[in-house]
Amino acid sequence: MIAALRKELLLQWRTRAQFMAVFVFGASALLLFSFAVGPNAEILRQFSAGFMWLGLLLSSTLTLAESFHAEMENRALEGMLLLPANARVIYYGKAIANWLQLVLLGFALVPVMVVLYDAGTTRLLSLALVIMLGAAGLSAPGTLYAAMTAQVRSKQTLLPLLLFPLIVPALLASVKLTSLIILGDPMGQLSSWMKLLTAFDAIYWSLCGLLFGRVVEE
C-alpha cells in the first residue's frame, strides 16, 4: 500500500508541470465564471463557493484522466497487476494520490476565489476540512471511472459523462458547506451537510475499492 502510494506520488512529482497547467485552467475558469455574472461584488460573493467547486470539478476530470495516462502508455497498469500486488492496493494508492492532488488544487484555488470574489473567511481549518472531504468524494469514484475510460476511445467525453451525475450529492454538500463557512451559518446546517458528505465518501471509498479489481482485471 505504502509502496503503491509512493509510486503514484513519484509519478505525480515527475509530471508536476501538468499540475501547474491544471491549476491555471481552474483559475481561469474562476475568472470566466465572474464574467458570466457581471461585476456585482455581492452576487459574486454569494456564488463564490459554487464557482470554486465547479472550477475544481472541471479541473479534476483533467487530473483524473491524466493519472491513468502513464499507466496506459506501456500497459504499466497490467505490469503492476501481474506483480503479486492486489488490485485493491493499486486502487487505494491511486485514489489517495489523486485525492492529495485535488486537495492541493483546492487549497491553491482558495486564494484565487478570495481575491476575485472577495469571499474571505477566518475559519480556515473548517474550510480545509471541507475541501479535503469534498475532494475525497471526487477522487474515489473518479479514479474508478478514469480506469475504465482510459481504455476507451473518446475518453475525454465519457469520463465527465459518467462522473458528473454521480457526484451531484458530493458537489451539493461541498458547495453548501463552503458557502456556509464563507457567508455564515445562521440555521446550524453545517453538521448535517458534513454528515452527508462523510457518508458519501465512506460509501464510495469502500464500494469503489471492492469493484476496482473487476474493472482492471481482464
Binding site: 509519478l11 506501456n74 505490469g79 501481474l82 506483480l83 500486488a85 482485471e217
Partner: protein, 220 residues
Amino acid sequence: MIRNVAAPAIEAMNVARRYGRRWALADVTFRVAPGRVMMVAGRNGSGKSTLFRVLSTAIRPDRGWAKVGGFDVEHEREDVRQRSALLAHQSYLYESLTAKENLDVVARIIGRNATAALLDRVGLAGRANDPVSTFSAGMRKRLSFARALLQEPRIVFLDEPYGQLDPEGFQLVDQVIRELKESGATVLVATHQVDRVAGYADCSITLDAGRVIGTSGELE
C-alpha cells in the same frame, strides 16, 4: 499448499481466447515438465502473445483452462503471479521515471531489492538515472528484462526476447536463459529466431491461427 512435485509446470487444455470478435487463440492444449526450456514458434498473429498473456494471468481464457505451477490461471491468479513473470510485448515501464526508479517501484511492491546489480547485469548501469523516455527500443527491452528477473520467477514467459536487441543483447538473453534453466526455472520463449532458440530449447510447439500445429522434443 502441497502440490505434486512431478506435476507439469504448465498445463493448458483447450485454451481459447477472443479479442473482440476475433479468436486469437482457438484451441491450444499442451503440457511442459518443470525445468524445461520450450520454444513457441509461429508467425505474426498466430496467438503466441495471447497464449503468454493467458498463462501469465494478464487475461482470462474464454474457454478451456490452464495451470501454471499447479495453479489455475483463472481462479488462483495470486499464486500464479507469485511464481511467474512475463516479458511482454509492451515494456510495462513508466516513461517519466528513471530506469532505477522503475525497478525500485517493482522491488518495493514485492519486497525485494538488488536493483543496482540487475541494472548492471543488463548493461544499463551507466543510464540508471536517466528517464525511460530517453531510452532506445533496445534499452527498454533490456530494462523490462531486468524487471521480469527482479521477480525471481520459477516460470518465465519471454515474448520476443530478442526483438530490437543488438548482437551483444542476443548474447545476454542466451546467457540469462541458460542461467534460468540451471536454476531449475521453466522458460517459455516465443520467438522468430527459430534457429537460435532451437540450439538450446528442450522442446517446441508451433502455433498457427490460434491452434497447435506441431510439437517437437520431449515436452514432459
